[in-house]
């Protein structure tokens, strides 16, 4: 590796060639504030908060590649004044309702402003766009708080290649906008919420349903059933100060009971059910050779992405509903019958790491007989907010277990939360169902890991090969889909999760600032927790889940059977490309 020598604040340092001044300074523990910079997502150097002095010039350090002999000063009057002015200007055009802002306390603008010791804003004047867009069931946008850093645009475009939002208009009138300024609900937004995760302020957030859920809980006529996705349990603790990657399954269940939910179910059960159905579907398609590759349908962001961008491949999507929708359907049929409760008196709440699930639960196709399978979806963040509001001391809760019949789940169900998990869970079951033999090692490590596209050929005992692709992040998915369209690639089975790393980094998970995102491998930490939860399970394969076996025996019949099709499968729509 080539190195160069530079001097920062009088300290001589040798750094790798190609490194930015910001990175070099951080290597020397020199803190340079940033706002618009989000590594790998947005390198626009537009906020001008990270400027440093190089010769007579002030240059944004986030994109400045250090050069041999460069003399950099990060703490001069000129630098401090420039940083303060930029932040004061941002504040002069910012809706400063910090006390009631969803990001109050976790706002990067607030902390930069604090760090720069800004106690009054010297500039006053007209404020730019105040438009609020609450049309989307998943994501809300508040232009009054937007500082136009462009991180959301980078997340939506550079990362996800969704490109639902971009800059529009000019100068002071500049706004982040959808194409033609349409409401977000009518755009190509796939609701993944990665824009929210990228936003340093409160300009983006989930469409909150906390009040709806409180109302349901306090309605004595309703049986309120909650289910939690696998990825929630490995992130929720972060909202209460626990380290990133803490597994808090038992505390979460205890907290949900304390909140007043009548039944606390595990979406992992739904995941096991999905494997039964999707595994059968895969074997059928492999048999008929039709609609291959089978593309997973657990991720509603991915599903909508296909609907907008690759409508010719809608038939390749698995017809399986996603796990929580399957579970919702079972709650309102099997469970309702078992308990003798009218389905319309049951409210199903899903706690999800995801904002797209909010959109999904509102899809007409997912409402059997006019009754939604899932009534409300809350994000991990919303659940944390409810727990805080209820005054529950989360960190000190004693572990509790899920309720049955949907509380027992296999390790295969839990790994749905990480990229590769659905594929691995499916392979465990498909292998045993086709061979009749038991797997010696259940771990298909080849499909694990954070590589963007993982290709594998899995040989079944009968000699049949399954060509699999595991993809996470829609940017990777688009590249792969285009390669398939060009005929360069072909597969039998494709697992796609819209968010990088899978559901563990979903748009509904706890938000971390740019610095944490840069320094901690959040994906890896949460994935580790997911896999340790899998290992801790006695049952590791979906088809071995006794509750699943019971459900089929008592109610559904066979996987892919008539009843399953009625309750557990769905269809998709073609949507506009812009």
């Amino acid at each position: 590796m080539k190195t160069i020598n530079i001097t920062i604040d009088g300290i001589d340092t040798e750094i790798p060639k190609g490194m930015t001044v910001l990175e070099a300074a951080r290597g020397l523990d020199i803190q340079i504030p940033t706002l618009c910079y989000l590594k790998g997502v947005n390198h626009s150097s537009s906020c001008r908060v990270c400027v440093v002095e190089v010769g007579p010039r002030l240059i944004a350090s986030c994109t400045l590649i250090a050069e041999e002999g460069m003399q950099i000063r990060t703490n001069t009057k000129k630098v401090r004044d420039a940083r303060r002015t930029s932040v004061e200007l941002l504040l002069s055009d910012h809706e400063r309702e910090c006390l009631s802002c969803s990001r109050g306390g976790s706002c990067e603008l607030q902390s930069v402003s604090n760090d720069l010791n800004i106690r009054q804003v010297s500039y006053v004047g007209e404020k730019s766009s105040q438009e609020k867009d609450y049309t989307s069931p998943a994501i809300i946008r508040d232009a009054a708080k937007c500082i136009l850093c462009g991180r959301c645009v980078g997340a939506c475009g550079t990362l996800q290649t969704v490109n639902a939002i971009g800059f529009a208009k000019r100068g002071f009138d500049t706004v982040i906008s959808t194409a033609f300024g349409r409401p977000l609900a009518e755009s190509t937004c796939i609701n993944c919420g990665q824009c929210i995760m990228a936003c340093p302020v409160g300009a983006l957030g989930e469409h909150e349903n906390i009040t709806d859920v409180w109302n349901a809980i306090s309605d004595p006529a309703k049986t309120v059933v909650v289910q939690t996705a696998p990825a929630v349990r490995v992130a929720l603790g972060e909202e209460f100060g626990l380290p990133i990657g803490s597994r808090v399954t038992g505390k979460m269940v205890a907290a949900l009971r304390k909140l007043g939910f009548d039944k606390v179910f595990d979406t992992n059960f739904g995941a096991d059910l999905t494997i039964m159905e999707e595994g059968t579907e895969l074997l059928n398609r492999l048999g008929s050779g039709q609609n291959l590759p089978l593309m997973t349908s657990c991720c509603p962001g991915w599903v909508k992405f296909v609907e907008h961008n690759f409508p010719d491949m809608l038939d390749n999507l698995s017809t399986c509903k996603s796990p929580h929708e399957m579970e919702g359907a079972m709650v309102k049929s099997y469970f309702a019958k078992q308990e003798g409760i009218a389905p319309e008196d049951i409210v199903v709440v899903s706690i999800m790491p995801c904002t797209a699930k909010k959109f999904e639960s509102g899809r007409d196709e997912l409402s059997g007989g006019g009754l939604a399978d899932v009534d409300w979806v809350l994000t991990t963040r919303e659940l944390a907010a409810m727990i805080k509001e209820a005054g529950i001391d989360f960190a000190n809760l004693k572990d509790e277990a899920f309720d049955n019949p949907f509380g027992e789940a296999s390790g295969a169900g839990v790994i749905f939360g990480a990229t590769g998990g659905v594929a691995e869970a499916a392979l465990r079951t498909v292998f045993e169902l086709t061979s009749g033999k038991e797997l010696e090692t259940v771990e298909y490590t080849a499909v694990r890991g954070m590589e963007g596209i993982k290709e594998n050929v899995i040989e079944l005992p009968g000699g049949q090969e399954i060509r699999t692709a595991v993809v996470h992040g829609l940017g990777n998915a688009r590249r792969l889909m285009e390669a398939i369209e060009r005929g360069e690639k072909s597969y039998d089975f494709m697992e796609v999760m819209a968010c990088a790393g899978g559901c563990i980094t979903g748009g509904g998970q706890p938000i971390h600032d740019a610095r944490t995102l840069e320094t901690v491998n959040i994906k890896a930490e949460r994935a580790k927790a997911i896999y340790s939860e899998d290992e801790a399970q006695v049952i590791r394969k979906s088809h071995n889940n006794p509750q699943i076996q019971k459900l089929y025996a008592e109610f559904l019949g066979t996987p892919g059977g008539h009843k399953s099709h009625e309750l557990l499968h769905t269809h998709y729509l073609e949507r506009s490309r812009f």
Binding site: L58, T85, D93, Y123, R170, F172, T174
Partner: protein, 625 residues
């Protein structure tokens, strides 16, 4: 295939044609053939010069004197205010504001009988009862036309005429007799600096790009001229498009690029149309394409239309616009010469810069470097505008003084008013005062005075101009044209404008003035691109040179020039008012009342201070107080 020999043949054939288009000093009787040059620039086309061309052709045909005269639609002559302009060679008679109805007389009197048509002769060509040829007028005689060469003497839509005027000879010379290094060296030694605003050494820019070891490189011509009032690039493209094409091919050869782009404003339809036509012709002659002049050198040019965003004149924003993205600047480094269009080495040169290149190649670096000052070589085209007698385009050698340009070439301030300031460099520049009139015009002097060369806008202001209002005007422009990307430019210019508004409304404080200065410095220091880095210049230079005016607005709530609406009111002087009622009839808000033949009165509460009464009163009875 057009080889050098083919070009020579064309040149020989067409040379005679061009020989007719110069002033010879022949006696009227001895003149056998006249060339009638009609300006086809945007200004004259707007005043319907096309109809003049048609009428001339028709009349010449009527009189069957096609053997005695030709009609040529040319590029811009520079004196746009006088359009439509017609020049007749070889006498060099300059007709201004010609109308279609004048044509039969012009044709009959002048073309048939050799007597100039008195009625439309440009006043400044009359001297002591004689009619001067236009080159002897103050407006033209100090000009040195290199970039504007051929503008006004050839038909820009006929490639043969450009070739006859030594066109494409430089390209031939470069490809066949010079190495790319020699070309770069020639341009470097000429001292040519970028005419688009930055003033960076052109040859050095080429050298950076030439040094990059990449297969794919690009040459971009920046024709996204955006400064209010500046139109030299448009005029060059309209009047001499082949010079730009030739220069781009030379640049391509020098840096190792085979593809060029012209990024031109869609609001320049005539320039675009002539450029497209010229590109077609050049391709047909194989002066562009896969095998230029049979040498195997490959170069072609595409045109990209800009949608009129000022910021797209900034190199990186322009590049992103060509790439299909929103025109927003990105930080430099990396400079385009290293990583430009589609991340490949790219040079971006302004139209006027490029227009100099063929002449530099033909006449040598030393020739070019002999013109101008030590650090600013050659000539510069300025668009003279505002309160000056001769408005239009002028090309002058670097080092000329502001006084010479404004008072000699420009003819001074009209209506006997006093000169107050000159604004150079457009929205990025600044205002200079009477004390600077004898300063030389060159890159470094203008910058040292707090203004800049910019792309060559030069707006002259008289005593009726409020300098706070001028600063406001320019800042309003940059605030509007900011791309909105970086904080200091997007919000800073807005806040600065709000402070200026406060002052023009008489609500400002002296602290606001300090705040404006400090905010201006911050915007300059920390903006991402040159738009923001220069946006406060009009504010800073007016505060520097006209602080008293700001203070008057603040402490006395007065606008000394009587411009700022909030600080003035209109009154009618009863002594002077004849009671003609014109003002009352023109007033859009019915604020003026009175009886005919008695003094009228303005009702202040209803007055919207539009100034119509002031403008229409023939007796100067309306006063600004």
């Amino acid at each position: 295939m057009k080889l050098l020999t083919d070009l020579d043949a064309i040149r020989t054939l067409s040379k005679g044609l061009l020989d007719n288009r110069r002033i010879t000093g022949q006696t009227p009787e001895s003149i056998q053939f006249r060339s009638v040059m009609v300006c086809g620039g945007t200004g004259c086309t707007s005043s319907d010069s096309n109809a003049i061309v048609d009428a001339l052709n028709k009349e010449i045909a009527n009189l069957s004197i096609q053997n005695k005269a030709e009609v040529v639609r040319t590029g811009c002559f520079g004196l746009c205010e006088l359009g439509p302009v017609v020049i007749v060679y070889p006498e060099g008679i300059f007709y201004s504001r010609v109308e279609v109805k004048d044509i039969p007389e012009i044709v009959e009197q002048h073309l048939l009988y050799g007597t100039p048509f008195e009625k439309r002769i440009y006043e400044q060509t009359r001297k002591d009862g004689e009619i001067l040829n236009f080159e002897e007028t103050d407006f033209y005689k100090k000009q040195v036309r290199i970039a504007l060469r051929n503008c006004g003497t050839i038909d820009p839509e006929v490639i043969d005429e450009y070739i006859a005027s030594d066109g494409y000879t430089a390209l031939g010379k470069v490809i066949m007799t010079m190495t790319p290094e020699q070309v770069v060296d020639t341009v470097k030694r000429s001292g040519l600096r970028g005419r688009g605003g930055g003033g960076f050494n052109t040859g050095l820019k080429w050298e950076f790009a030439a040094r990059q070891e990449k297969q794919q490189k690009y040459v971009i011509c920046n024709a996204d001229e955006g400064d209010p009032g500046a139109f030299m690039d448009r005029s060059i493209l309209e009047g001499n498009p082949h010079a730009v094409i030739e220069a781009m091919a030379i640049a391509g050869y020098a840096i190792g690029a085979n593809q060029g782009f012209v990024y031109v404003r869609a609001e320049y339809p005539i320039a675009v149309q002539r450029l497209m036509k010229a590109l077609d012709q050049a391709r047909k002659y194989e002066l562009l394409g896969d095998n230029v002049m049979g040498t195997g050198f490959k170069f072609d040019i595409d045109v990209r239309l800009g949608a009129g965003a000022f910021v797209c004149g900034e190199e990186t924003a322009l590049i992103h616009s060509i790439e299909g993205f929103r025109g927003m600047p990105t930080p430099k480094p990396p400079f385009p010469a290293v990583q430009g269009l589609w991340n490949e080495p790219t040079i971006i040169n302004n139209v006027e810069t490029l227009a100099n290149i063929p002449q530099i190649v033909l006449n040598g670096a030393e020739w070019y470097a002999s013109i101008g000052t030590e650090k600013s070589k050659g000539t510069k085209v300025f668009a003279l505008g505002g309160k000056v007698v001769n408005t239009g385009l002028v090309e002058v050698p670097m080092g000329i003084t502001l006084r010479e340009v404004i008072f000699e070439i420009g003819g001074g301030i009209p209506n006997g008013k006093k000169f107050k300031a000159v604004q150079t460099g457009g929205p990025s520049g600044g205002c200079l005062t009477e004390e600077h009139l004898d300063c030389t015009i060159d890159f470094d002097t203008l910058t040292s005075l707090g203004s800049m060369m910019g792309s060559g806008g030069m707006i002259i202001m008289d005593e009726d101009t409020c300098m706070v209002d001028v600063a406001r005007f320019y800042l309003d422009f940059t605030r509007d044209e900011s791309c909105g990307k970086c904080t200091p430019c997007r919000i800073g210019t807005k806040r600065l404008l709000e402070l200026l508004d406060k002052i023009t409304e008489g609500k400002g404080t002296l602290e606001d003035l300090d705040k404006m200065e400090s905010l201006s410095l911050q915007i300059k220091n920390s903006s991402l691109c040159a738009l923001g880095q220069t946006a406060p210049n009009p504010v800073l230079s007016t505060i520097k040179y006209f602080r008293d005016e700001y203070v008057a607005h603040i402490t006395e709530q007065q606008c000394p020039a009587g411009v700022c609406k909030s600080l003035i009111s209109y009154e009618i002087d009863a002594q002077l008012c004849k009671g003609c009622s014109l003002c009352a009839r023109k007033c859009p808000s019915d604020a003026i009342s009175g009886k005919p033949k008695e003094p009228y009165v303005i009702e202040k509460a209803s007055c919207i201070k539009c100034g119509v009464c002031f403008d229409v009163c023939k007796f100067k009875a309306v006063m600004i107080v």
